[in-house]
Amino acid sequence: MIDASGAGASLTSASAIVDAVAAGVQSPGRAIEQSFARARQVRAGADGLNAILWSDESAALHEAATVEERGAGQRAGGLAGVPVVIKDNIATLDTPTTCGSHILEHYRSPFEATVVRRLRDAGAVVVAKTNLDEFAMGSSTEYSAFGRTKHPLDPALVPGGSSGGSAAAVAAGIAPIGLGSETGGSVRQPAAFCGVVGVKPTYGRVSRFGLVAFASSLDQVGVFGATVDDAALALQTIAGRDTLDATTIDHAVGDYRKPVSSLRGLVIGRPREYFPEQLDPQIAEHCDRVLEHCRSLGATVKDVSLPNTNLAIPVYYIVAPAEASSNLARFDGVRYGLRLTGDGLRGMYEATRSSGFGPEVTRRILLGTYVLSAGYYDAYYAKAMQVRSLIARDFAAVFGSGVDVLFTPTTPTPAFPAGSKSDPYEMYLSDIFTVTANLAGIPAMSLPIGRVGGLPVGGQLLAPHFAEGTMFRVAQALERALGGDAHR
């Protein structure tokens, strides 16, 4: 809903915009104007939050006018007039897709990602490309070549990452829907830090055509929503088989927006490994309150175990860099992007890549190349893939025992100060509760469940493959039960 009519008002719900456009009381361009006014008010660009890397107001208003020309109702689309922000590693036609990297700084995509096309076909209007850790490698959006994104509530803090720009933009009320990408928690972790909803779908649920590849066995496009309903609306718009992405699965997309009043009959699992003794006691308290709501709503809460959880970070930081080292070989100065001259062809490769990639990307390429190299492949990569299958088995066993959905904290702490994690492995531990879903390929989401020290805290739901519908059902019921407590 638009909570005030003046310039700079926060946009807080996609469904309210859709309803207003469908009823003819608001033109599709109205929310787009509001979005740009809000972005100016919160200084979303490089001189402020630095959440937005690119935007074009006149192009967005022109796009809104074409939505209006389609007419009202179904013809206008299920997201008619809704402003959306897109992480800048997702291709948008003839506009920048930088991946937060100097190596793609001047690249203009000659094609569009399927997820962006589906949003536009539904009447949504892209208002901004958003900042990210370079090539989505990071947990704080500090590793962008174009400067760090600041937390909307406190500029000294990080918004999380790697999709920190989209999370901050949705939290700041610039758009009620955003796209991000998930390899190890890059939507859920910033969603938790910024106090919005973030969803990682099942592997194969959403097309990756046009998503710049990082780690192909893990990557998925994810969605941010100002509310659970907005996230559901966004996901069911982009989900489903795509002939341009062979990894998408032809599995029916359900209605993720069914209203629910009860969780009767559902079993919610509480995995003990996600509630370690050193967990912030206030985060633990918020989680206990959520589980109490689950019981009040009729669900059964059951303690369960996922015994290989502590191995997830070592596995992830072998598998993801290994795949990244292969995927990022394509940035060599030959076909697109930056080219620097060096001594012959090899010198060109080395000069281009060394200058174009930042320190974290370089670190991961080196790490990934090392674990795939002769003599180390079996000890690191092959072993990590075996342990990965044990982690996936843990989830299969718990879900096979009758548990419908798991509930955990999304992160071990709220947002942390910028520059506070100089040790790379310490930064990697930010993802400790989120990487498991990527390794197992299951859907997961984060929703706001309260605040600690004034900062948002997220609760995470994890579900079996393609059980997004059940996951959203629980999320909607919890969002309603928590009410204002989710944001205080």
Binding site: P314, R335, G337, R339, Y370, A382, K383, M385, S389
Partner: protein
């Protein structure tokens, strides 16, 4: 696990990354430190874990079908250097004595 400077240089060559001596020394420390945390995996019993899906009997193939990917501009338009439908690159060291291209 400790990675030597020579190993970092070798890996950088494999990855086609030119890195300075100072950066290589830093990378040796960083990678050694990160890989220490990975050592825990060597102690995990994976005897019944299978191969993690990395050594299946042959590649899984699908029909090579689907709509063409439509580009609004040809590759030559966004390549750093292109001519006659080909990407131009610096001369290979093994061909330095060859006649220059017309």
């Amino acid at each position: 696990m400790s990675i030597s400077l020579e190993e970092v240089r070798h890996v950088a060559t494999l990855a086609r990354l030119g890195i300075s001596d100072e950066r290589a020394r830093m990378a040796a420390q960083e990678l050694s430190s990160i890989l220490e945390h990975m050592e825990v995996l060597s102690r995990v019993d994976t005897s019944d874990a299978g191969d993690g899906g990395i050594a299946q009997a042959g590649m899984i193939l699908r029909p090579d079908v689907g709509p063409p990917i439509t580009l609004v501009r040809p590759p030559a338009d966004f390549a750093p250097m292109a001519r006659d439908g080909f990407f131009l690159v610096p001369r290979l060291a093994t061909h330095e004595d060859a006649e220059p291209a017309p």
